[in-house]
C-alpha cells in the first residue's frame, strides 16, 4: 500500500516558484475544455475568444490595463495585510468610500478649472479608504474583534451608503431622478492617454504603487516585520515587533490603496457615481494577491490575468452567448490550481510504503 507523503523542503523550490502560475493556467485550460464541451461550445474557438480576442486591438489593450489597474492597486494594499496575517476582506467597501469622498470634492469644485482638484481628490479617496479601514483596525486591536468579519460587513454598509447618497443627497438635480450623481467636470477627471481610448494617467499611480510596495515588502524592515508577525506571531513578540501597530499599518495601507482605486475609477472611466461602481474589484483583488503569491510583481501578473478573465468573460458572453458565470468559474478553478501548486514549492511529494 503506497501512501503519498508531503515532506517540507530545506529551501523553496525556485524553478517551481516561477513555473507554478504557468502550470496552474495550463491545468485550468485542461479542466475548462470538457466544461466547454458540456456547454456545447467549440473549445479552441471559445478559448481564443476568451483569451486572445480582447487583446487584439489598441482599445482592447487599453481596457485590459484600465481594469487591471484597480485590481493591482487594491491587491498590493491587501498583500501588505495578508503578509501580516491581517485579513482585510473589506477592500470593496474602502473602494466605495474612497470613490464617495473624492466624488464629493468633484461635485463641489468640479465646475472650475482647479489644478489642485485631482490631487485633492486622490488624497480624499485615500483618506476615505483609511477611515473605513480604521474601524476594523480599532476593533481588532482594542476589542480583539475579527477584522475579517468587521471588514466584510462594512462592505455592505458602504454599498448601502452609496445607494442612499446617489438616491438622495448626492443625486443629480438635473438627472431626471435617475439614481446617479451629476457628471464630474473636466477638472475632476483624468484625461485619456491617447485619443479614442479610456486608459488614463492613473495607471502611473498604480505603477508607482508597485514600486512602493516592492520597496516596502521586499526591501524594508517594516515589510520584514509584517511578514514575521504573519508567519510566526510568537517570534514577532519575541523579537519585540509591536503587534498592534503592525495591524494598524496593514489595514490602513490596504484602506488607502483601495480608497485611491475607488477615486481612480470614479475620476476615470465612470465620471460619476451610480449605485454600482465596481464589478467586484475589492473581492477579485484578493484573488489577484494570491495569484501573485503575495509578491508585488506577482500581483501585477494576477491583476492582468483577472482583468483578462473579466474581458474574456464579456467577450464570450457577447459573441458566443455563454453564461456570465463561466468567467467566474475560470477565476475559481485558476485560484484552486494556483494554491495547489503552491504546496509543491515548499514541499516534496514522495511515495512511501505503508
Amino acid at each position: 500500500m503506497l501512501r503519498i507523503v508531503l515532506e517540507p523542503r530545506a529551501a523553496p523550490w525556485r524553478s517551481m516558484r516561477l513555473a507554478a502560475p504557468g502550470i496552474a493556467l495550463l491545468l485550468t485550460l485542461l479542466v475548462s475544455v470538457p466544461m466547454l464541451f458540456a456547454l456545447g461550445l467549440d473549445p479552441p474557438a471559445t478559448l481564443r475568444t476568451f483569451f486572445l480576442a480582447p487583446l487584439s486591438s489598441a482599445n482592447g489593450i487599453s481596457e485590459w490595463l484600465l481594469k487591471a489597474s484597480p485590481l493591482i492597486l487594491i491587491g498590493l494594499g491587501l498583500t501588505v495585510g495578508f503578509r501580516a496575517n491581517v485579513w482585510n476582506i473589506g477592500a470593496e467597501g474602502m473602494y466605495t468610500i474612497g470613490a464617495l469622498c473624492s466624488a464629493w470634492l468633484a461635485l463641489r469644485f468640479g465646475d472650475g478649472a482647479h489644478v489642485w482638484l485631482l490631487p485633492a481628490m486622490m488624497l480624499a479617496g485615500a483618506l476615505g479608504g483609511i477611515a473605513w479601514a480604521a474601524i476594523p483596525a480599532f476593533l481588532r486591536t482594542v476589542t480583539n474583534t475579527s477584522e475579517i468579519l468587521v471588514s466584510l460587513m462594512l462592505n455592505y454598509v458602504a454599498a448601502l451608503l452609496l445607494g442612499y447618497l446617489v438616491n438622495g443627497p448626492m443625486q443629480d438635480p438635473q438627472g431626471m431622478n435617475y439614481p446617479q450623481t451629476a457628471a464630474f467636470g473636466p477638472a475632476a477627471l483624468f484625461t485619456p492617454l491617447f485619443a479614442g481610448v479610456r486608459l488614463n494617467a492613473s495607471i502611473f499611480i498604480t505603477a508607482a504603487a508597485v514600486v512602493l510596495a516592492w520597496l516596502l515588502l521586499d526591501r524594508s524592515f517594516l515589510g520584514f516585520r509584517l511578514s514575521v508577525s504573519g508567519a510566526a506571531p510568537a517570534a514577532a513578540r519575541y523579537a519585540g515587533f509591536p503587534p498592534a501597530r503592525l495591524i494598524w499599518f496593514s489595514l490602513l495601507a490596504s484602506g488607502a490603496s483601495a480608497g485611491l482605486a475607488g477615486m481612480m475609477e470614479a475620476a476615470g472611466p465612470l465620471g460619476q457615481l451610480t449605485p454600482v461602481i465596481s464589478p467586484g474589484y475589492g473581492f477579485a483583488a484578493i484573488i489577484a494577491a494570491f495569484i501573485g503569491r503575495l509578491e508585488p510583481l506577482g500581483v501585477v501578473f494576477g491583476g492582468l490575468l483577472l482583468s483578462l478573465l473579466y474581458l474574456g468573460g464579456e467577450a464570450v458572453q457577447m459573441s458566443l452567448n455563454v453564461p456570465a458565470s463561466l468567467a467566474r468559474s475560470f477565476q475559481g478553478i485558476l485560484l484552486f490550481f494556483l494554491l495547489a501548486a503552491d504546496v509543491l514549492i515548499m514541499h516534496r511529494v514522495t511515495l512511501r510504503r505503508r
Binding site: 529551501a11 514575521v228 508567519a231 519575541y238
Partner: protein
Amino acid sequence: MLNRLELRAITKRYAGAAANDGVSLMVAPGEIHAVLGENGAGKSTLMKIIYGAVQADSGEILWEGAPVRIASPAAARRLGIGMVYQHFSLFETVSVVENIALAVAGPFDLAALAARISELGDRHGLQVEPRRLLHDLSVGERQRVEILRCLMQDPQLLILDEPTSVLTPQAARALFGVLRSLAAAGCSILYISHKLEEIRELCDRVTVLRAGRVVGGASPRDTSAAELARLMVGRAIPAVTRVPGEREPQPRLALRLTTPRAVSLTVHGGEILGIAGVSGNGQRELLALLGGDPVGQPETVYLDGEAVGHLGVAARRARGLALVPEERLGRGAVPGMSLGDNGLLTGHRLGLVRGGLIARGGVARFARTIIERFGVVCSGVSSVAASLSGGNLQKFIMGREMSLAPRVLIVSQPTWGVDVAAAAVLRQNLVDMSRGGTAILVVSEELEELFEICDRIAVMYRGRLSEAAARDMTSIEEVGLLMAGAGAAFGTAA
C-alpha cells in the same frame, strides 16, 4: 540461555540517509541494556522498529530465539514488549485506575484493577494511589503510572526512552530501584539515554550508536564516563574551563516581585546564575516576566537599576537584553524563513537596517558568521529554519543572541537537543561571555550542565525561587532536594 531479543543487521533508511545501518543487538532475560547515542544517532528509530511503529528495510528480529515480524505496536505488546515514551500519554482529568483501564483489555472492573495496581506497585516500588486524579500527580508519579500501565500487560521487555529527562535526581534514583526490581523479576529492560553517569550506575551492558551504526559495546561499570563519551561522539570531549570571574558590584538584571508571591533574583555582570528545577514549576512565567512579553508593573524588573517592568520586548532589547527561548521554532525562529532572515529577526540592531531598508549583504554576512562560528549544519544562509535539526537551530539561535553582544543574556535550556561536542562549545561560549562581563541567566533542567558553567544556582519549585547558592557551596544532591520541594529555602531572595 536464549536471548529475549536479538536484532540482526537492522537497516532503516530515510530519504537516502541511513538512520540504522546494520545494527545488531542482543538482550538477555532480566538484563538492563542501555542504548547510548547522541541525538540523531538512530536510537529512536531502533526503538520504533522494536516496538513495531516503524518497519526495518532489512535485517531480522528474533524474539526468544524465533524470528518474528513486528507489524504494529499492538503486535509488539502481544509479544510482551512495553514502551514508556519520553512524553507521557495520559488523560489529565481522570484517575490513575481509569487511565490504566483504558489500556487494558478485558472487563471494565475498576475495583479489581485498582487492587492489581496496588499489588504491582507494592511489589516493584511503584506506589501510586489508584483513585487519585492524574492532574494531582507529580511528574515522577505520572511516570509510575506509565510504567504500571505497561506492567499490566506483563511485559518481558520494557523500553524506556530518556526516562529521567523529567525527573529530579532523587526521583531518578527511585526509578532505578524500580527498574532493578523489575529486572530481578526477569523482565528485560532497554534503557535509552545519552546520560553517561546514569548508564554506568544502572545498566548491565551498553550498546553505543553513532550515526546509525553500532560503534561499540561495553560493560558500563568497567568503562569510564570519558571513555563512553568518546565512543558516543567519536572523539574526546573538551571539558569546559572556568576561570574565576569578576563579579560587578551592581546587578545588571534584577527581579523584585511581591505578588502573587515574593520572587526575586539578581544577575551581575561577570557571572552566570543558574535556575534549576523540573520544567513546569514557573520557569516559563519567570522568563516571560524578565523578557517583557507580556509587560507588567514597572517596579518588578530592573535593567542596570532602571525599572523596566512596564517596557516591552523592544525597549528591553534596546537596553541590551538578549534572550534564547525554550521554544525554538515559532518563537526563537520563524519556521518558514531563511536563516538570513532569522538572523535579522533580532540582529537588526547591528546595522543591518539602513534608512528603513534591509542591508541584504549585511544580513547574509551576519548569518554566515553565526553558521561558521557555531558549526550550524545547514545548506547555507537561505536554508529555512524549519529544515534544520533541533540542535542545529538551537546553535543558530544561541549564536545569534550571543553575537548581539548583550549586556544581559537570558538562556532557557541552552543545549537541549544539541550534540555533546557542540554543547560543550556552547557552554564554553557562555562561560567566556560571562568572563567578558556579560550578566547571564541560564534556566536548565540539566543539573550537570548548571554545575559545569554557573557561578550561583537557585532552584525553582511551584512558582517559588530558592536563594541562590554559590556553586562551590552546594551540591547536586542538595539542589535535587530543593527541586523536589524539600527544604525551607523558598520565597527569599536569590
